[in-house]
C-alpha cells in the first residue's frame, strides 16, 4: 500500500515525458512520426503545432492519459488526511483505468508509429481546428471528463473498504466540484468555438459528441448536490455512490461513442471497429465490475439520518431525479437510431427538434426547484413558511419577466417562461442572501459583517446558481429575439437590422501563414455613430484545400453583431449574412459564473481546516452530522 504514492508520481513523470516527446515532434516538424505527418505541416503556426498534439485520435488519447496522471498526482499530493488503505485503493482504481487506456494506445492507437520513408511535408491540421479554441477546449474538457474518475475511485474505494459516510463525502466533494467546474468550462468553450467558427451562428446542435459531454455534466451536477447531502446529513449514501459510478461511466461511454464509428457526428474521430471493440470491452469491464461491486456492497450501507417528506434533502433528491431523467432522455435520443438499427427496425435520425422538445420541459421544474431548495431547511421544512418567504421573489420574477419581454418588443409564452426561470433564481438567491445578512431583529449596520461571515461554500453555491440564471437569460433572449437578414450587397450598399446599419465596403485579398484569404469589410453604425468594423473572410488553406467561411463578430454585453460572407454574385456583389443576437454572450458568461461558483465553494475553509485536525484513521461508519 505504501507503493501507491510513488507509483502515482512515477506514472505522472513517464506520461508527461511521453507527452513532451510528442509535442517536441510536432514543434520540430518530425514527419517521420505518422501522427505528426497526418496532423501537421511545416507552415503550421507554432500554437497549432502544440494544439495539434491532441488534434487526432491517438494524440487525444495521450492527452486523456496525461490528464489522468495529473489528477492522480494531485490526489497523491493533497491527501495527507486520508488513511493509507483508502488512498491506496483510490490510486489503484485510477491506475487500473490508466492501464486500460495505455493498453488501448499500445495495441491499437499508437501516436508514435513511424512512417518510413518520412515525407517532406505533412498533411496539415484540419483547418477547422486551427483556432484558439483548439488550444483550450480539449484540455479543459478532458480535465473534466477525467476528473470524474476521482469521484469514481473514491466511490469504489469506499465500497471495497466498507466505510461509506459523511467523511467520505467530505473528502470526495472538492475533487468532484473541481472536475465539474472544468467540464463546465470545457463545454462552454466548445460551444462558443462552434459559434464563431462555423459561419452560421449556431452554438449547440445536439450532436452525439456534444451529448456525450452533456450527459456526464448532468450526472456530475446531480452528484455534487448529492454529495452535499451525504456530507451534511450522512444520507443518500448508496445513491451518491451510484451517481459517482454513473458520472464516470458516462464519461467512458462518451469516449466510446466518439471513437467507435457507432454514431455519425461532425466531431467524430476517424473510426475503426477494432478500436470500438477494445473500448467497449474496457467499458464493460470497468463499469460492469463497478455495478457488480455496488450490487454486492450497497445493500449493507445504512440509511443515514432521517428527513421529512418536505425538506432540503427532498428538494435535492427531486433535483437529482430530474437531472438523471434529463441525462436519460439525452441518452435515449442519442442512442435510439442505433437501437432501432440493431433490432433491424429501420433507420432513423434524432435531431434538435426532438431534443429541444424533450429537454426543456424536464429542465424547467429543476430550475424551479433551484429557487426553493436553498431556502428549505435541512431535515424538515414547512411549506407555508417557504411560500411566505418566497412570495416576494415570485412576484418580482413574474414582473421582471413580463417587463423584459415588453421592452424587447414582443411577448411570447416560451420566452416569458424562460425569463421567468432566470429571474426566479436570482430573486431566490437575493432572498436567501437577505435572510442571512439581515435576519429578523438584526440591524442593517451588521449586514456587512454578516456578509463576510458567509462561508465560501455557500457563496459559491449562490454564484453558481446566478450563473445558471444568466445562462437561461442568454438562451431565452437569443432564441426568442435574434434577427437574421441576408442581403445582396455591392460595394457601398447598406442594410439595416434592429437599428444597426451595415455598409459593405468591398473585399481585398491577402495571404495568411498557411492560407489564402478574401476579406470583406463591413462598417457598422448606429444612429450615425460608428460601432464596429467587421471583417468576414473566405479562406482556402493551401495544403488541404478546404474552403472555410470565417465569420466576423462584434461582441457586446447586450448583443453580438455577426456577419459572414455567403457567395459572390454578378457585378462584384456578395450575399452577406447579418445577425443581431441579443445577450448571446450571457450563455457562456453564465457557464463561467457556474464554474467560478464551483471553484469558490471548493476554497471553503472547512476543507483545509479539517485536514489539520482529522486523525489519520478517521472512518467511523456513524459519523453523524458535520457542521
Amino acid at each position: 500500500m505504501a507503493l501507491a504514492r510513488p507509483c502515482a508520481y512515477t506514472l505522472f513523470f513517464l506520461v508527461t515525458l511521453a507527452f513532451a516527446c510528442l509535442m517536441a515532434s510536432f514543434i520540430r516538424h518530425d514527419f517521420s512520426v505518422l501522427y505528426v505527418a497526418s496532423n501537421s505541416n511545416s507552415a503550421l503556426p507554432i500554437e497549432y503545432r502544440i494544439a495539434g498534439v491532441w488534434g487526432g485520435h491517438e494524440g487525444s488519447l495521450l492527452l486523456w492519459v496525461q490528464m489522468l496522471s495529473i489528477w492522480m498526482l494531485a490526489v497523491a499530493l493533497f491527501s495527507r488526511h486520508l488513511p493509507q488503505a483508502v488512498l491506496a485503493r483510490i490510486l489503484a482504481v485510477m491506475g487500473l483505468i490508466a492501464v486500460g487506456f495505455l493498453l488501448f494506445m499500445l495495441l491499437t492507437s499508437n501516436p508514435f508509429d513511424r512512417l518510413f520513408p518520412a515525407p517532406m511535408e505533412g498533411r496539415d491540421l484540419n483547418p477547422l481546428l486551427q483556432d484558439p479554441g483548439m488550444v483550450t477546449h480539449p484540455p479543459m474538457l478532458y480535465m473534466g471528463y477525467v476528473g470524474f474518475s476521482v469521484a469514481f475511485a473514491f466511490a469504489l474505494a469506499a465500497l471495497i473498504g466498507g466505510n461509506l459516510d459523511a467523511t467520505w463525502a467530505r473528502w470526495t466533494r472538492p475533487w468532484t466540484t473541481v472536475a465539474w467546474a472544468f467540464l463546465t468550462i470545457g463545454i462552454a468553450l466548445g460551444s462558443s468555438w462552434a459559434y464563431y467558427v462555423l459561419g452560421w451562428g449556431g452554438w449547440w446542435f445536439w450532436d452525439p459528441v456534444e451529448n456525450a459531454s452533456l450527459m456526464p455534466w448532468l450526472l456530475g451536477t446531480a452528484l455534487i448536490h448529492s454529495l452535499a447531502v451525504t456530507e451534511k446529513r450522512n444520507s443518500f449514501k448508496s445513491w451518491t455512490v451510484l451517481l459517482a459510478i454513473l458520472a464516470f461511466s458516462f464519461s467512458l461511454l462518451g469516449t466510446f461513442l466518439v471513437r467507435s464509428g457507432v454514431l455519425s457526428s461532425v466531431h467524430a474521430f476517424a473510426t475503426d471497429p477494432r478500436r470500438g471493440l477494445f473500448i467497449l470491452a474496457f467499458l464493460t469491464v470497468v463499469v460492469g465490475s463497478s455495478f457488480a461491486l455496488y450490487a454486492w456492497r450497497a445493500p449493507s450501507v445504512g440509511l443515514g439520518a432521517r428527513f421529512a417528506v418536505l425538506s432540503k434533502e427532498t428538494t435535492l433528491l427531486a433535483n437529482n431525479v430530474l437531472l438523471l431523467v434529463a441525462a436519460g432522455a439525452v441518452m435515449l435520443g442519442t442512442l435510439y437510431p442505433l437501437l432501432l438499427d440493431a433490432l433491424g427496425m429501420g433507420k432513423l435520425s434524432v435531431g434538435p427538434p426532438y431534443f429541444d422538445a424533450v429537454f426543456l420541459p424536464l429542465m424547467a421544474p429543476a430550475v424551479f426547484l433551484m429557487g426553493i431548495g436553498p431556502l428549505a431547511r435541512w431535515k424538515e421544512a414547512q411549506a407555508p413558511d417557504l411560500a411566505q418567504r418566497l412570495r416576494w421573489a415570485a412576484g418580482v420574477a413574474v414582473g421582471c419577466a413580463l417587463a423584459t419581454g415588453w421592452l424587447a418588443g414582443e411577448l411570447h409564452l416560451v420566452a416569458t417562461l424562460g425569463l421567468l426561470m432566470s429571474f426566479w433564481i436570482v430573486a431566490s438567491v437575493a432572498t436567501d442572501l437577505l435572510e442571512r445578512v439581515h435576519p429578523a431583529g438584526s440591524p442593517w449596520a451588521q449586514a456587512p459583517a454578516r456578509m463576510r461571515q458567509i462561508p465560501r461554500a455557500l457563496a459559491g453555491m449562490m454564484l453558481a446558481h446566478v450563473g445558471v440564471a444568466v445562462f437561461c437569460f442568454g438562451v431565452t433572449m437569443v432564441k426568442a429575439y435574434e434577427v437574421e437578414s441576408d442581403a445582396k450587397m455591392a460595394t457601398g450598399d447598406s442594410t439595416t437590422v434592429r437599428g444597426y446599419t451595415f455598409t459593405f465596403r468591398g473585399t481585398r485579398e491577402y495571404s495568411g501563414p498557411n492560407y489564402e484569404a478574401l476579406q470583406g469589410r463591413i462598417d457598422v453604425t448606429q444612429g450615425g455613430r460608428e460601432v464596429a468594423v467587421l471583417s468576414p473572410e473566405k479562406r482556402i488553406y493551401r495544403v488541404q484545400k478546404n474552403p472555410m467561411t470565417q465569420a466576423s463578430i462584434d461582441s457586446g454585453l447586450t448583443r453580438d453583431l455577426y456577419v459572414s460572407l455567403g457567395e459572390p454574385v454578378e457585378g462584384g456583389a456578395w450575399i452577406v449574412r447579418v445577425y443581431v443576437k441579443p445577450f448571446i454572450d450571457w450563455i457562456w458568461g453564465g457557464c463561467m459564473l457556474m464554474a467560478l461558483g464551483g471553484l469558490l465553494a471548493v476554497a471553503d475553509r472547512r476543507y483545509r481546516r479539517k485536514q489539520a485536525t482529522d486523525p489519520v484513521a478517521h472512518a467511523a461508519p456513524l459519523a453523524g452530522t458535520a457542521p
Partner: protein, 176 residues
C-alpha cells in the same frame, strides 16, 4: 430483496453493451432505400450520346434491367467500372447508366476512356431523377423488374461478390 434492486444498474448496463456491440458492425450513415418493392419513379431523360433521343420509364417495362448511377467526377465509380464492364459481357440483363450531375462531354469522354458496359446512359444533368430515385452518393445501382418495380439497391460500388451472391440470383429469379 435489496440485492435484486441493487442489481438493476448492472443488468441495464449489460443490455446497453449488447446494443453498442451490435452497433459496431452497422454503418450509421447508410440509408436503406424506401423504394424497394415500389414502382420506380417516372422519368424522361435524353440519352447521353444523343440529345435528340429520349428514354422514358414506360420504354423499360417488360424487361428486367439494371440502372447504374455514375459520374465522371466520381472516384469510387472508377473502382466499380471494370467490374461492370466484365459483367456486361455476360449479357445477363440490359444495363443502363444514369449519368448524374455531369457534363455531356465529360461523361462521354469518361466512357470512352474506361469502357462502356451500358446499353445506353441517361443524362441527368440537374440530378432531379437522381433525387426521385433517392440517390445520395455515387455510385449506386438498382435492379428493376418487368413491371417497373424496384427490387434491389446497392449503395456504393458493385463488387464481384455482390454480383455473384445478390444480383445474379435475383435476376435469374425475376426472369423466371
Amino acid at each position: 430483496m435489496k440485492y435484486a434492486r441493487a442489481l438493476v444498474p448492472l443488468v441495464v448496463f449489460l443490455g446497453l453493451v449488447w446494443f453498442l456491440a451490435a452497433g459496431l458492425w452497422l454503418d450509421p450513415k447508410e440509408v436503406p432505400s424506401p423504394l424497394i418493392g415500389k414502382p420506380a419513379p417516372a422519368f424522361t431523360l435524353t440519352r447521353l450520346d444523343d440529345a435528340a433521343q429520349s428514354i422514358r420509364r414506360e420504354d423499360m417495362l417488360g424487361k428486367v434491367w439494371m440502372l447504374n448511377v455514375w459520374a465522371s467526377w466520381c472516384v469510387a465509380c472508377r473502382e466499380e467500372h471494370p467490374v461492370l464492364v466484365e459483367f456486361a459481357r455476360k449479357k445477363l440483363l440490359p444495363i443502363y447508366g444514369l449519368n448524374y450531375k455531369d457534363e455531356r462531354a465529360a461523361g462521354l469522354k469518361w466512357i470512352a476512356n474506361f469502357g462502356n458496359p451500358y446499353d445506353a446512359s441517361l443524362f441527368d444533368q440537374d440530378g432531379r431523377v437522381g433525387i426521385d430515385f433517392g440517390v445520395y452518393g455515387v455510385p449506386e445501382t438498382f435492379i428493376i423488374d418487368r413491371e417497373g418495380v424496384v427490387r434491389f439497391k446497392q449503395i456504393g460500388p458493385v463488387t464481384p461478390e455482390v454480383l455473384r451472391d445478390r444480383i445474379e440470383p435475383l435476376v435469374r429469379k425475376l426472369n423466371g
